[in-house]
Amino acid sequence: MRMPVFRRKKHWLAALTGVLLSSILLAACGENSPSILNVAGPVAESESSLFWLILYLALAIFILVEGVLIYSIFKYRERPGTPNPYQNHGNMLLELVWTVIPTVVLFVILFFTIRGLLQVAPEAEPAASASQPKIEVTAVGHQWYWEFYYPKYNVTTADTLEVPVGTTVHVKLFSNNVIHSFWVPSLTGKTDVVPGHDNTKWFVAQKTGLFTGICAEYCGTQHANMRFNVNVVDNSSFMTWISGQQQAAAAPTDALAQKGEALFKNQCASCHGIVGVNVTQFYNTAQECTDLPGGKANGTPQCLIGPNLTHFGSRSLIAGGVLDNNTKDNNCDPNNPNLMQSCNLAKWLKDPQAVKPGNDMAIGALSNAEIQQLIAYLEGLK
């Protein structure tokens, strides 16, 4: 019955340690990851910096407790002739000690918790100043893509949130369907987008670059494919982008694109809007289009299910962040003979349910020629 298991245990322990260490090393290699430790702003900074505090405390406790455990496993194992141990029922002093010590440690953590909580709370949002301006964005969670509305500039876009560097971004979170959660690991932790609740989130990006955003609350079939990008650019590029986005859609010039526009009006206009084509202005889902039974479903501005496509050609992601809008290298040149293979938009238009099963995009079967026309039109909407 009593087998010397310890010969083997050392071996296993070594192997186990190896596995754990290597997993950490492997993890460190994930360069493109939206890691919470790869911080690019003060909010994420104060959230993630607590990780190190907890890690060190937890490691210390872990080593201590597992150390005592493993030590007593070796020290007190039954050997031939071991006498019966002393029947010790307890010790009040020890109990007090190990109640008080964890209490102290935990309350130290609690202090930093509440301090950090107040640092990132909505109330802590800095007021706009000359050194740190502020912009306001409404993030609208749809099933399953993100729409971003800039009320001051009257601009609506989808899948990519453009923000200027060093600016406080005040994000209003809105959903009129199910609960989503707004999360950009490098910039800010999650806040849920709860229907009927006016949640907000603020963050400041201190580095330019592209950061991955993720929907973190289970929101149905395609919860997995509800990512977005946060594109942090310098101020002048941001203003350039804004003024470009404020224009109505460019009218197509070549024949292919004009056919595409006609096709769009016929096939897509019931769900998608393009300013200057089938709608007169950008709309704000959050305020004007609550889209409920008996709501303003038929009012003006129009309430649309799909994203606004006015400047579709300028977007880097399509289909709710699933696909790159890979227009480079003539991938999506309508005359490219390999269009159906090389262009993501073509794949999407051919069979949206294959790319993202269960999504709301309902489109009749299109011939390759029609897809060519639509691509020519949509990619021309810079």
Binding site: Y86, N88, N91, M92, L93
Partner: protein, 125 residues
């Protein structure tokens, strides 16, 4: 491992405990190992009486005199098997399935449920 304070505590407790236990059983008697009546012996006593049985020294505690050991019959004393718990459980599941599946199933389920509850109540007497 044990402080002096604790040892004192122990001794004190022993005294307390003896007083406290006096009513339940005398502290200087170790519990009797299994009953003197083994199953085999029992079987040789057909239709064992429900009272009587072994005679033991009756100690008088502080609170209450100890009654004699009794011999009771296992079959009479233990709970009897019953099919009705299963029937009622099944009917409830059936009723809830009826909520999903439709009115016919629901009605059958309710009838089953009523029947099995009545069965359970009646069986007890």
């Amino acid at each position: 491992m044990v402080s002096q304070e604790q040892k004192d505590h122990v001794e004190q407790q022993v005294v307390d405990e003896q007083e406290e236990d006096a009513g339940v059983s005398s502290p200087d008697t170790t519990p009797t190992p299994d009953s003197a009546l083994s199953d085999d012996k029992q079987e040789s006593q057909p239709e064992a009486a429900t009272t009587g049985g072994q005679q033991q020294a009756v100690r008088t505690g502080k609170r209450r005199g100890r009654a004699r050991g009794r011999l009771v019959n296992a079959e009479e004393v233990m709970p009897k098997p019953s099919l009705w718990p299963l029937a009622v459980a099944f009917s409830i599941a059936f009723v809830l399935f009826g909520v999903i599946a439709g009115l016919v199933v629901l009605v059958i389920g309710v009838i089953l449920l009523v029947a099995s509850i009545v069965g359970w109540i009646l069986e007890r007497r």
